[in-house]
Symmetry: C2
Subunit: 226 residues, 2 copies
DNA sequence: ACCTGAACACCGTTCAAGT
DNA sequence: ACCTGAACACCGTTCAAGT
C-alpha cells in the first residue's frame, strides 16, 4: 500500500485543514511547523513550499475559519428570506457565532493577527451594503463597524479567559475577598448561572452576546431616526 | 565599582519593570526569559527565584499595566470631584485609555491571558459600586460589564492590527477591489482620516472609542428609566 | 536563600542536496 | 517543482552545583 503522501500530494488546503484539526483537538499551541508536518507524514521543511512560514500558517488558520463564517452566512441567508437591516445584521452575527463555537481557539488567534484575512473583506462589504441600503451614511456605518467590534465574526472579546475550575479558593480567601470586594461577591452570589458549555469563555453565553448585540442595534436604530 | 546586581538584589518588581521596559521599546515578542535576565545582568535561571516561569512573567506584565490604570484613575478622581454614574464611568474609561496608549502591546497580551490579574478586581469592584449607587440592579450591572468589554481597561478590541503602511497596493489591485467591494472602497474614500499617531490600532482613534462608549452609556441610561 | 552553568527537549528557519 | 535531512540560532526549563 503506497503511503498517503504518495497518492495525495501536499497542498495549501490539505495543510491548513490538518492545522485546523490540530487546533480543534490539541489547542492552537500545538500548531507548530513540525507537528503539522508530522501529522501529514512529511518533513517540516516541506510546508515551506506551500506557505512562506509560521506566521502565514496562522494567518491561513484564521482565513480558513473566516471563510467558514462566510459560507455559513450564505447558507442561512439563502434559505431564510430577506429581512430589514437590523434583523439581517442580527442573524449574521448569530450565525457567525455558531462557527466560532466550533473553533474556540479562533477569537484569541484572530486578536493576535496583524494582517486582515482576505475573506474578512467580504463580510465587511456585505455589512456595509446592508446598512447603506437601510439608510446609514458611510460615516455612521463606519462607526457601527467599529462599535460592533468582533461581533461580525461571532464573538465578543473576553478580557480574560480563566480555565473552568481555575477559581478554586480557600474558605479564608473567600471571606477576605467578600470584605474587600463586596459588590463583586454580591453580584456573583446573586447571579450564579450554570456554565452550560456553549460558551467561548467566562460568562460569554448566548444571552450576554445577544444582550450587547441588541443594545447596539437599538442604539443605531435610534440614531437613524424614526 | 561593584556591579549593579551586587548592590541591588533581584526582586519581582525590578524584574517586571525591566520586562515592561523591553516590551515598550522592543515589542512584547522580545520579552523572553533570556533577554529579560540579560537586561538585568543576570542568568536566565535567576528569574525562577522570583517567578515560576514564562507565563507568570506575562501575567505579571499585564498586572503591572492594570495597576498603572488603577493608580491613574485614583489620581484623576481625587483631583476631579464627584460626578454621576454616567460621567464617572466615562472618565474612568478615558483615563484607562491614556495608560494603554503608553503600552500599545498590552491589549493583545491581555487577550491571551487565561488568568485574571488581581489588580483587575479592584476596577470591576469600583465600577459595580458606581453603577449600583446609580440605581443599577446587579443583573443589569453585570450585563453592562460584559457590554463594555475591554473599555474598563481603556481599549476597544481591534479585530486585526495591520501595521501602518502595510496596505500598499498596485493600481490594478485597487481597481479590482473597487469592483468587488464597492461599498468598502466608497467608505474608505469618503472617510480618509489621517492617522494621527494616538491610536492603538487601525482606526482606533479617540473618536471611535468615545462614540462607542457614549452609545453604550446612552443605552444603559435608557434602560434605567427616566 | 539566591544565583550559576551546563544540559535537554523543543522551536522556526537556512542551506545544500536529492528526485 | 517538490521534498529531504542535517545544521543553526534561538527558546523555556531541569538539574546539580556553587556561595
Amino acid at each position: 500500500m503506497p503511503t498517503r503522501s504518495r497518492r495525495e500530494p501536499l497542498s495549501r488546503d490539505r495543510l491548513l485543514a490538518a492545522a485546523v484539526k490540530i487546533a480543534d483537538t490539541e489547542g492552537v499551541a500545538a500548531v507548530t511547523m513540525r507537528h503539522v508536518s508530522a501529522a501529514l507524514g512529511v518533513e517540516a521543511m516541506s510546508l515551506y513550499h506551500h506557505l512562506p512560514g509560521k506566521e502565514a500558517l496562522l494567518d491561513g488558520l484564521v482565513d480558513t475559519v473566516v471563510m467558514e463564517v462566510v459560507e455559513q452566512i450564505s447558507i442561512v441567508e439563502e434559505s431564510g428570506g430577506t429581512l430589514g437591516w437590523q434583523a439581517t445584521l442580527r442573524r449574521r452575527f448569530l450565525t457567525a457565532r455558531t462557527v466560532m463555537l466550533r473553533h474556540p481557539w479562533a477569537p484569541v488567534l484572530i486578536g493576535t493577527r496583524t494582517s486582515i484575512p482576505p475573506s474578512a473583506y467580504a463580510i465587511y462589504e456585505a455589512l456595509l451594503a446592508t446598512m447603506v441600503e437601510g439608510g446609514f451614511s458611510y460615516e455612521l456605518a463606519h462607526r457601527a463597524l467599529h462599535s460592533f467590534g468582533s461581533m461580525p465574526l461571532g464573538f465578543v472579546q473576553e478580557l480574560f479567559n480563566p480555565a473552568p475550575g481555575d477559581d478554586d479558593m480557600a474558605e479564608e480567601e473567600l471571606a477576605a475577598m467578600a470584605e474587600m470586594l463586596p459588590h463583586l461577591t454580591a453580584m456573583v452570589a446573586s447571579e450564579i448561572h450554570t456554565n452550560d458549555g456553549d460558551t467561548l469563555g467566562w460568562c460569554d453565553s448566548q444571552n450576554e452576546f445577544e444582550f450587547t448585540l441588541d443594545l447596539l442595534l437599538d442604539g443605531f436604530a435610534r440614531r437613524l431616526g424614526p
